[in-house]
């Protein structure tokens, strides 16, 4: 029996002590590091069900590491200025007076890449998460300020110690960006930007500016430090940044898991795209020779994780499982071989897709039921 404890079970509930799924540092860097800075931590996708990532398990990325700012929301302000008719400063109270939206959106780090060294889906794909976000459309705020002619980019800036800032196209601001104060039914968590986070649906995680304090409307790419970090010499690679392509991964069975024996299993996974809603997911149980339509669970939201499944009868033989998705633009998730061919590079274990990696993830099923990374 679990006894009622005022702090842990009544005031703010805990999960069962038998549930031990946790986030792990990502990319081989300790978090916190020598300086006490928090670095990337990855979501345990192998244990996920449905499409919502619990806020406590949402991945966290910090470009150069960060101390989490401890912001009093009563003191927090969002300033919008630059190429606008009226610069305005909003308190949290002000923002909550304005018309709000509530939408499901994934956030994915540009460093969410599979590799031959990674063993589990948490290591290959754990830098993506999906939550329900509530806030005011950035377009509502920009219309309130009045955009001036020539406004073509905006710079969003956070309140953390490095005051991370990124340039983004004004067309995106007017399309679907959200100045979010709510996440999964409560205020945005400090690790996710409390009290305000800019949601830039479908764009790389770094653009989803945490601890948002300022938006400057400008007439050019502003070459902030974060922008500098995004430069490429190849126009093709540059074009593949910003917006994330269609991507999916099987979360069960996935690397490190074990099938206890032959028989029926529900293959389950997640699909998402920066291009919009997921239209189709296919699963192959024979290493990509034949593809079967997977079932999409519930409604496929735009720029949101979408749960899919495929019921499979394992005959006990060695095989390989793969998934691929198609988004509302008709874009289909590519294989590593396709991407290598496009970039005219040899396909070997060391091949790393240029730009954002949205390639198909194969999971190898051994005769003993063990599951391993098919890219290893």
């Amino acid at each position: 029996m679990i006894k009622g404890d005022k702090d842990n079970q009544i005031a703010y509930g805990n999960r069962s002590r038998f549930v031990t799924s946790v986030r792990i540092p990502h990319g081989g860097r300790a978090s916190p590091d020598d300086f006490g800075l928090t670095f990337h931590v990855a979501t345990p996708l192998q244990d996920s069900v449905g499409v919502i990532t619990p806020s406590s398990l949402h991945y966290m990325g910090t470009t150069r590491g960060s101390f989490l700012p401890d912001i009093d929301p009563r003191e927090h302000r969002l300033m919008i200025h630059g190429l606008v008719d009226r610069a305005l400063t909003f308190t949290m109270e002000d923002l909550k007076r304005l018309p709000s939206v509530t939408r499901l959106h994934f956030i994915e780090c540009a460093g969410n890449r599979t590799s031959s060294r990674a063993k589990t889906v948490q290591e290959t794909h754990g830098m993506t998460s999906c939550a329900e976000w509530t806030g005011v459309l950035l377009s509502t705020l920009l219309k309130e300020c009045g955009l001036k002619g020539g406004a073509s980019w905006f710079v969003a800036e956070g309140a953390e110690e490095v005051k991370g800032a990124s340039s983004m196209p004004i067309a995106k601001a007017m399309d679907d960006c959200i100045v979010a104060y709510g996440m999964n039914g409560e205020p945005v968590r400090p690790q996710q930007g409390f009290p305000l986070r800019l949601m830039v649906p479908g764009f790389e995680g770094i653009f989803h500016t945490k601890w948002l304090r300022r938006i400057k409307v400008v007439d050019r790419y502003y070459m902030n430090y974060n922008d500098f970090g995004h430069l490429h010499d190849d126009a093709t690679v540059a074009a593949l940044s910003y917006q994330i392509g269609p991507k999916s991964v099987i979360t069960f069975p996935s690397g490190g898991q074990l099938l206890p024996g032959r028989g029926s299993y529900e293959i389950s996974g997640l699909a998402w795209s920066g291009g919009g809603a997921i239209k189709k997911v296919e699963v192959s149980t024979d290493g990509g020779r034949r593809w079967n339509n997977a079932e999409i669970k519930g409604i496929a939201h735009r720029m949101a994780h979408t749960r899919f499944s495929y019921q499979w009868n394992w005959d006990g033989n060695e095989t390989e499982l793969q998934s691929r998705c198609t988004d509302e633009l008709g874009s289909v998730q590519p294989s590593r071989a396709q991407v290598a061919k496009f970039f005219n590079k040899p396909l070997d274990a060391s091949f790393s897709p240029p730009g954002l990696d949205n390639t198909i993830q194969p999971w190898k099923i051994d005769r003993d039921g063990s599951v391993t990374n098919g890219n290893a």
């Binding site: 922008d227 074009a239 392509g245 919009g276």
Partner: protein, 189 residues
């Protein structure tokens, strides 16, 4: 839709020469002083740069005095924090800029980005404590140890945006972003 129905809309749009007015009237107009204090963004033209000046020599002293060396190393390569000096020699030597480390005061297309980042983010835990002169001097020092500017160069609001960075124009521009459009035509997705 008939022409008569379209006409009033066209007239309305044509008459909106004055700024569009706010719908909700929520939010407060910041004062000029509040705007000045908050606007730490320094774009490539350097139009937001404050008055001040600094040289590589002054920057070298500050690099030690302000504790930069403690994290970034005595010469910018030995610390636990990101390296600040290329290990493959100064700019202009044989190694291509894209084959070098991703170091801000070497690969940035504009020297203004170096000034902006030191000013907003350094030193760790004491951000915002450097004076404008000190930021100019540290920027000059870092550009000098990477061979971008000579040792006697004075950086100020006029000269900083004119510093010729080794990368020149050799970086890819982003294609225009449009809603509901794949990023790269012909890419296998």
């Amino acid at each position: 839709m008939g022409m008569l129905k379209v006409l009033p809309l066209v007239l309305l749009m044509g008459s909106t020469a004055p700024a569009q007015s706010p719908t909700y009237g929520v939010g407060r107009t910041p004062s000029a002083e509040e705007l000045r204090a908050a606007d730490i963004s320094i774009g490539s033209t350097g139009e937001e740069l404050p008055p001040g000046r600094g040289t590589p020599k002054e920057g070298a002293q500050l690099y030690r005095a302000k504790g930069c060396a403690g994290c970034h190393g005595a010469t910018g390569i030995e610390g636990r924090a990101p390296i600040l000096k290329s290990k493959s020699g100064p700019a202009g030597s044989d190694v291509d800029i894209w084959k070098r480390e991703r170091i801000l005061p070497l690969r940035a297309p504009f020297a203004t980005t170096v000034w902006d980042y030191i000013n907003r983010a350094m030193p760790l835990n004491r951000e915002g404590t450097l004076t404008a002169d000190e930021v100019y001097a540290l920027t000059a020092f870092l550009l000098n140890i990477n061979g971008v500017i000579p040792e006697d160069k004075v950086l100020d609001a006029q000269s900083l945006p004119k510093v010729k960075m080794p990368i020149g124009e050799r970086y890819a521009r982003l294609p225009e972003w449009k809603p509901s459009t794949p990023r790269l035509k012909g890419y296998p997705y």
